[in-house]
Symmetry: C2
Subunit: 440 residues, 2 copies
């Protein structure tokens, strides 16, 4: 069980490269800060003004083209013409709520459900992954009668009041509520080589602690690629014993697919499928509409009935026909352009290239991942995670026209997460930029 | 202080006209139910399949054109060409998050802020009014150090876990948490004619009850047109003493403008402005993007800083340039087409016409409202609120090609809420349909 204040520290480190008000900033930066104030989240100490984007590239106002390895929302490629066309066509025709039947919506829901376990047959459409996870926790609590939630220690599951409680990485101060226990990520050093067994042991320790607190478990909530914990993908299957343990205690497994879903891991369409588990609830978001605000929670009808008996739930924008059109176009593009296969193949090429760089530089201590989601650990001369060096590399990558961010407990893991349409040439370009950034 | 179970009853009544599974439903209905399950919210016992919409009209698959008096999202008119054009243009060019500067976003935020009190200078963009209210409650708690929230007894403020707690009308069973007190709506019968004084007394009683519970107040959260409570608009100004009372006790006033905002009340751009009060926090949603999923919370920089010191908040889709383009187009259309003025004038015409109908039918016990937001109370022969009769009128209106819903504690208030582009002819048509529906 980690101390949340440690997570607060991790958060501070992750924020090291964020913009802070000061002298000498440009007018656009001052303007943004006046508009968003303390809630401003500008990236880079000298933020970038963007004017366009296409494929894997973003275009700044000064004409610079940046290779986007950071944003996993425009997953089929920025400004993809098929998604643009679908949104433009539908919004001109009909945009309403789910109080009426619109065939576009049910066509999409059926296409989406065909990709999911058949028992998860009810979909609740929302506007954001946060809303989807907020719902999932309540559905799990209503279905089990328990309240305890297990997450990993640098997890991030969204921004509502409820999901902030299960997102240790968002806490700057304070501690997790009694009903939430954060466990070490899979592969935490003290478990040695047995990642599956070690992770199961962590879940069982949390369940035992809930027992001592007199709290019944409701769910184990995990992003199966463990993005915020530093991208922990291997070995496939390690998640299964942990899921078994929570089920044996009466809890559900909620798969948060906001990060690994929609083909990103290459091996499977959903991250959980790499681990051979069937979740009780699946949530999804970010890449679902390639930037059109949409997300969903998928559950079993009997679980959903319990929740709906307590509360009348309606989401005004959730499941509108424009979102459905965007989402359907995304599924079509992933299939037609073979983006899951591309994630696997170009991802493998990228991983191999980055490992080659690592072999020649002791400061790159690990390169791991699945498909087009790769984590690269950076360390100091003594082999300790080095967030300051990571920020230096991120800045140097920017100077080489590559956008990339960091993750992990120490903020010392590069989060390599380009659009799924990435070409082999673009992967090469990234590897060269990384090599150059390391060279200073 | 109302018993939340009474609100559960109100909710059941409001649901009376909702679709329930059964025999003889069409294939599209069965399909929808298979997709959404218990979370299905289809309107009418025989739901309508829609294929298009324009202006104040929705077009069903069978070719029937319905006058839409129910949905206040497409507030400048369904499929408005200016909004369609703005979304289509921006989504083809750049759709990203607020980690980068995009001038379209700050142009919009400045246009929006120009319509708000100057001290509320920081905007947090979200995807839904629920997310905005979820944030507002947390900002108010962080800013005041208090936790108590006062709402009205049939209030609805959204669907996240936190805002469901302050939405008595969403509760089907269970009770409000200790930190939330629901007060009678303005003008509740037991206060007689002094609406302002009576409502202040209700707020003061809730503050005294918080005192007994050892809870410090954080905020009074209200929709200034009291939509869910049955549309309570008059007299303008009645809200001011209640706001004074909560401020005197150290709490904030959060104006939930999801319903009355963006010109709907005719007298002012925001609902709170009709009451001559300046809120501490303003939230907005539904009509903000005319259907593009977007919402916002606006606050004072010092209040926001308190919240941001505790939690790192980032909203992936919130404040994206496509939402900004949609929102800016909405502001432009409201201004260029004089929609606030139209809401005032066409609304007054509609109100007068409905009062004329009421004068000739004892079952129409009250007609009240502001601009294009009007409540019509329906009663039985003895003058008691009659939800069954209301459902009958709603069904009959549908037969006359008008879509309308109900609100209020008893579900016996017609919620008259057409798009702001409503013409005088369309208003006349509604009045005639209402007259015909009453005639049976």
């Amino acid at each position: 069980m980690s101390a949340p204040t440690a997570q607060g520290q991790a958060r501070q480190i992750l924020d090291m490269n964020a913009y802070r008000p000061g002298n000498g900033q440009s007018r656009p930066v001052e303007r943004r800060l006046a508009n968003l104030g303390a809630a401003s989240v500008l990236f880079y100490r000298q933020p970038i003004e963007m004017v366009g984007a296409e494929g894997a590239w973003m275009i700044a106002k000064d004409g610079t083209r940046y290779l986007d390895f950071y944003n996993n929302v425009p997953s089929v490629g920025h400004s993809h013409p098929k998604v643009v066309e679908a949104v433009s066509r539908q919004i001109a025709q009909l945009n309403t709520n789910t109080r009426y039947i619109v065939s576009v919506v049910d066509d999409y829901l059926e296409a989406l459900k065909a990709l999911l376990p058949p028992e998860l047959s009810n979909v609740m459409m929302t506007c954001s992954g946060s809303e989807a996870n907020d719902l999932a926790i309540r559905v799990a609590r209503a279905a089990t009668g328990g309240t305890g939630i297990i997450v990993t220690e640098t997890a991030y599951h969204g921004n509502t009041a409820l999901v902030t409680e299960v997102s240790p990485s968002a806490l700057k101060r304070g501690s997790l509520p009694e009903k939430v226990i954060a466990i070490p990520p899979p592969g935490a050093a003290h478990f040695g080589e047995d990642i599956a067994g070690g992770f199961r042991a962590s879940v069982e320790a949390a369940l035992a602690e809930f027992g001592r607190r007199g709290i019944r478990p409701a769910a184990f909530l995990a992003d199966s690629i463990f993005s915020s914990d530093g991208i922990l993908a291997d070995p496939p299957g390690f998640l299964a014993p942990a899921v078994e343990a929570v089920r044996a205690a009466g809890g559900l497994f909620i798969a948060d697919e906001v990060q690994p879903g929609f083909g990103r891991t290459g091996d499977a369409f959903w991250g959980y499928a790499r681990h051979g588990v069937t979740p009780d609830i699946v949530t999804m978001g970010k890449p679902m509409g390639n930037g059109f605000p949409m997300a969903a929670m998928v559950a079993r009808p009997d679980h959903l009935e319990q929740f709906c008996a307590d509360v009348g739930y309606f989401n005004t924008f959730g499941g509108n026909p424009v979102a459905a059109a965007a989402g359907h176009a995304v599924l079509d593009v992933i299939c037609e352009e073979g983006l899951q296969e591309n994630a696997r193949e170009t991802g493998a090429h990228l991983l191999a290239g980055l490992r080659q760089v690592a072999a020649g530089d002791a400061r790159v201590t690990d390169v791991r991942g699945a498909g087009l989601f790769i984590g690269v650990d950076l360390a100091d001369e003594a082999g300790r995670p080095d967030p300051a060096f990571t920020v230096q590399v991120i800045d140097a990558m920017r100077a080489h026209n590559v956008l990339i961010g960091a993750a992990g407990r120490y903020g010392a893991t590069l989060k390599v997460r380009p659009p799924l349409c990435l070409t082999r040439e673009e992967a090469e370009r990234f590897i060269e930029a990384f090599r150059a950034a390391l060279a200073g």
